[in-house]
Amino acid sequence: MKLKRICLIPIIILLVFGNGSQALANSNVPYQTYNYDYWNEAYYTPAAYIPDGNISGTDLGSTNMVNPQDMFVAEDGRVYIADTGNNRILVLSSEMKLEKVIEGFDNNGTPDTFKAPSGLCVTEDNELYITDTDHFRVVALKEDGSLLKIIQNPTSEVLPEDFQFAPLKVTVDYADRVYVIAKNMFQGIMAFDENSSFTGFSGTIKVTISNYEKLWRRLSTKAQRQRQVQFIPTEFTGVDMAPDGFIYATNVDAKGLQSVRRLNPKGQDVIQKSTLENRQQKLSGDVYFIMGPEYSGPSRIVDIVYRDNGIYSVLDMTRGRIFTYDHEGNILYIFGGKGSQAGTFKNPVAIEEKDGQIMVLDSYRGEIMTFVATKYGSLINNAVALRYDGDEASAVAVWNEVLKLDSNFELAYDGIGKSLLAAGENKEAMRYFKLGMDRRYYSIAFKRYRDDILKDNLGYVLSAIVLITAALMIRKSVRKRKGKGGREDE
């Protein structure tokens, strides 16, 4: 008897505390994790991702990285880092061990080096594209390190005569078309065909001028106008290529309205924004921000990583936060922060995903920081993946798990509501849509519910109407007869 009880204790302890190998959702993290509800109020959530160490240049067995600017995870799991300050490219194996250091290449017989390489991209065939910024060219190397091609001095009527092509970030699609973000090029992302010739701009951002600014400009004199701030489109800051050939690009938005774009092959922005009435279609990190000296102003989104199932994460340099959205533009979770503790950033510049881990490159620290998903984070990822595939029914169980950890997660209520609606449980669905603040689907559920009630009671209603009209007619005829009788009496 006693032995049994002693055996029970560890089992109970295991049941209570042993949640497998997954990190607990409420772990202490050196940053705040929150999300925005329907009313745009920030509420605290469990951490979706927690820090899982960092890797510096010396950890890799090389010298420290100096101001690294970009990072790329190739299909085969290799990690490429543009160590900008050291003019070299580090190549890491998929186990995060240093594989080789590319310091230069053989340029048709003469040895050549890089100068401030600040962006890179690797294709499926392991061709490495490097933006050799201060040499004003994009260098493409084959897997063995030999030269594939060099893109430089693009010429076109649309480019100004004195245009200096200083590429910053690069991405390549499945047809070997190269998309380059260049310094001081506000017209969009520069697209090059497979023969390295410039074909045009992709994703031109229109300049918006408010009526107030128009009026102000009209009222000012020519001399004043010349000294005013010019209305130039915002710059692109980072790109990533989704497997379907759509480019995900980030840009600086001083108003904090839209910092993420999804460009189709024609170069048009086709991103889906949140349709919530209160969100005003914002897609730019923090919905609310203060204006002040430090950590203030709108989020400055510097890089993006497309993850599977329509999920993408963007990196905010202002406050060092990572915002993750689904394909409909709903914010899924927010984590990360600035500081000097382990797991916080000084100057984050690039974000990538590798085997479900999120990796962020910090240029000031010269380190790669990795973050692993907690139970909360991975549950959301799974549920969104199921939702993306249209499998709302099997998402329900996952959403219920999410709600156990975060009962304010509106997308979960919405997901459960949709599957209830499909199952025909309209009244329950209405309840969930109301909690999920989804007016459109609430309306659909409500209509069905109303129709059901009407259908069930139509018999009563119709017979009531018939009875009432019959009663009225009888009363009328009785009165008529009475009236006639009265007249006859006279």
């Binding site: 009313w39 009435e277 209160n278 109301k434 007016r439 459109r440 609430y442 309306s443 659909i444 409500f446 209509k447 109303r450």
Partner: protein
């Protein structure tokens, strides 16, 4: 006039605004208490509508609805408007008295008092593409209110239409002035009070 007659007279006013408001001014057919009651009822129905309108049409954060504050706000707005209007029309040879202005504002609110609650109830039974019925109801009653107010102000002061619009514009200016003066007073009184408090503390600590 008996109480019942006064109550029924409300409906005469909203169906015959010119005659109705004229008799309020010249034959004392209105009641200030009834008007204030209507303002109270409007404040109540306004809050009820904000809080209890159906999910489909209600875009208001329920946490932001505070019945007491909204009632005070409605009353303050009515008193402010009446004061501003009275102070302007006095100077512009308007015939209306302060109590007439209050009566006109109160009586004009009747359409809103009558529609807000039924519209709220109606909104529980409509889906998203039928919401126009609800909005038509609400908006019509508001337009009716504005028209009644306009006619009322015009009739009790014996103004022409153009002069009414002019006085309304001036009323708006006067309103801003009143608010400015009130704010000024509040901050001045606050400073005097702070001075007294600090003088008292000084005394207590020194003596």
């Amino acid at each position: 006039m008996s109480k019942k007659e006064k109550l029924l007279y409300l409906f005469y006013v909203i169906s015959h605004p010119f005659d109705g408001f004229y008799e309020i001014r010249h034959r004392s057919k209105g009641s200030v208490w009834l008007a204030l009651l209507l303002v109270l009822l409007f404040g109540l129905s306004f809050s009820l509508n904000r809080r209890y309108a159906g999910f489909v049409v209600n875009l208001i954060d329920p946490m932001s609805v505070d019945v007491r504050m909204e009632m005070i706000g409605v009353f303050a707005a009515v008193i402010l408007f009446a004061t501003a209007n009275w102070s302007i029309t006095c100077l512009m040879e308007g015939e209306g008295r302060f109590k007439d202005i209050i009566t006109v504002i109160g009586y004009s609110m009747l359409p809103m008092v009558l529609t807000f609650v039924p519209a709220t109830v109606l909104s529980w039974f409509i889906a998203s593409d039928e919401e126009s019925i609800y909005y038509i109801l609400i908006n019509l009653s508001m337009i009716f209110f504005v028209l009644l107010l306009l006619v009322g102000i015009m009739v009790i002061h014996n103004f022409s239409f153009g002069k009414t619009l002019l006085t309304l514009f001036l009323t708006f200016v006067a309103l801003l002035l009143i608010i400015f003066v009130i704010l000024l007073l509040v901050s001045l009184i606050n400073q005097v009070w702070l001075f007294l408090v600090s003088a008292y503390t000084e005394l207590i600590l020194r003596v």
